[in-house]
Symmetry: C2
Subunit: 120 residues, 2 copies
Amino acid sequence: MDLRDLFKSAENTEEFQAGATIFEEKSTGSVMYVVLDGEVEVRRGARVIEVIESGNIVGEMALIDPQFRSATAVAKSDCRLAIVDEKRFLFMVQQTPFFALHVMRILVNRLRRMTASQMD
Amino acid sequence: MDLRDLFKSAENTEEFQAGATIFEEKSTGSVMYVVLDGEVEVRRGARVIEVIESGNIVGEMALIDPQFRSATAVAKSDCRLAIVDEKRFLFMVQQTPFFALHVMRILVNRLRRMTASQMD
């Protein structure tokens, strides 16, 4: 199953042109995004740490645990994103356990990659 | 709310004496644990990377995304753990959105700490 299927009829979407900033490191923010079309680059400082392809999520950390954004997100190509606020997120977690598991897997994968990159 | 409340009447529990190994890095494993009493030390190689206090979870990565264990868990004190297998985990996620959110927050907190430790 693909998150695009869950969000394809989302009413709250936003389009970004290639190069546009979606959110900035150290800003406050309480929404996450599902990438419906295009690609998003996640940067920390000048370093690209991840490229998020369509069907995946970006910005979920500030939604799950409200704090400053830990990275900057920039549209790598023209892209269309579904905006998921806290209310929608809680509804999805409650109604769609698949969604909760998917988010958890993304977080675990990221932890595994960070752990691997810390290994000597 | 405390995970101990959710698991206090769990039937599937296990006790470990201080110093006993709960699981080992690079082993396979598909259960996670809720620490009901005592403390658990998480180690990677010789380094202690986290101390898990009662009310918290340990070993959730291998359950959410089945792969080898990324760390070793050792009882820091005598402790009692509730064992959560995949079936129970999926049931909890489905029935208790709070549980899913709690697990997500733990993962996000860990990501934030790892990110911070990578910063210069």
